[in-house]
């Protein structure tokens, strides 16, 4: 499971950021147990640290996790699930589980099964939560996050998620770069005038609308 290697430092970094933002070990862990979505947990930890409003944090979470709708839609086309399987499978669905189920699960004898999906989901869930706990406990023993410079981990981690989306092997064309630049610079401009959570919501929606509009225009031109 090479994916674990990517998850462990991310979960530890999330936990350290969350502890630095003033969340208790229990609150840091609870977020991993319930929300279980790395990027939005990281964003929330950063927003907690920045003193963002509740609305800002929750709306950013919603916006970031809206992509899970796509994973569910895509999976349910190749894997019919019962009501109980949907209720259970939905709690643990992540980018990584979706990727593994789609790529490796379909190569299994008999194709992708609910057992395979749940197995992939739960193994990622276990690693994520164990790493969160380790980071949360170690974080409280570390000196102030500022002295260690861990503030830079937050933009770095998101940059790592962003890079494959804009220059990855499966990316076609330059549209993602255009959207990322427009949204990033737009957010920087907005951040001078409006509070943090709202910046992400406005520029996130704005950037995605721009991308969708440009795709539509390309489609008409072709």
């Amino acid at each position: 499971m090479p994916l674990w290697l990517g998850m462990v430092p991310f979960a530890v970094a999330y936990a350290v950021t969350a502890r630095g933002a003033g969340l208790s070990v229990w609150e840091t862990q609870l977020m991993s147990l319930t929300v279980f979505a790395g990027a939005s947990q990281f964003a929330a930890a950063g927003l907690f640290a920045g003193g963002a409003s509740m609305l800002g944090i929750v709306s950013t979470t919603f916006l970031l996790n809206a992509r899970h709708l796509l994973y569910g839609l895509s999976l349910s086309r190749s894997l019919p699930l019962s009501r109980a399987q949907r209720l259970l499978g939905a709690q643990f669905l992540t980018d990584e589980a979706y990727g593994v189920a789609l790529v490796s699960g379909s190569r299994e004898p008999g194709g992708l099964s609910f057992g395979y999906l749940l197995g992939a989901e739960l193994s990622l869930y276990a690693i994520w939560n164990a790493s969160t706990l380790a980071g949360a406990l170690a974080g409280s023993a570390l000196p102030s996050p500022e002295a260690l410079g861990v503030g830079v981990i937050f933009p770095l981690a998101f940059l790592m998620l962003l890079v494959p989306l804009v220059v990855g092997p499966q990316v076609i064309g330059r549209l993602p770069v255009v959207v990322a630049l427009a949204s990033g610079l737009g957010a920087w401009g907005l951040s001078q005038v409006v509070p943090g959570g709202l910046v992400i919501l406005l520029s996130g929606v704005g950037g995605a609308l721009l991308g969708a509009a440009l795709v539509g225009r390309q489609g008409e031109g072709a």
Partner: protein, 98 residues
């Protein structure tokens, strides 16, 4: 602000979306909204990174860190290497007095 309430609400806006997706396999979204959903991560991640680098008092160090980390990630596809390399570059810039 009550952190437990925020975490509860974060869960409340995450779980139903996952569940809904798994239940709506037959639904066809218009192409515009499929494209919109596809661009949301790019747009949100960029909006999280840029102000946090350029708007920071230590923006020069963070910029060096992101340039090095981003380049490492681009060439290696390794998230761990990108974060560690970027963090190393941050400290190199900091020790160099940037």
């Amino acid at each position: 602000m009550n952190a437990l309430l925020v975490i509860g609400l974060m869960w409340a806006v995450t779980y139903p979306v996952r569940w809904l997706g798994l239940g709506l396999g037959g639904l066809k979204l218009p192409p515009f909204w499929l494209a919109f959903l596809r661009f949301v991560p790019v747009s949100v991640f960029a909006a999280l990174v840029v102000p946090d680098v350029l708007g920071s008092p230590e923006w020069a160090r963070r910029f060096v860190a992101c340039a090095v980390g981003g380049a490492l990630m681009w060439r290696s596809r390794s998230l761990g290497l990108g974060i560690l390399g970027g963090f190393g570059a941050y400290w190199a810039a900091r020790l160099a007095g940037l």
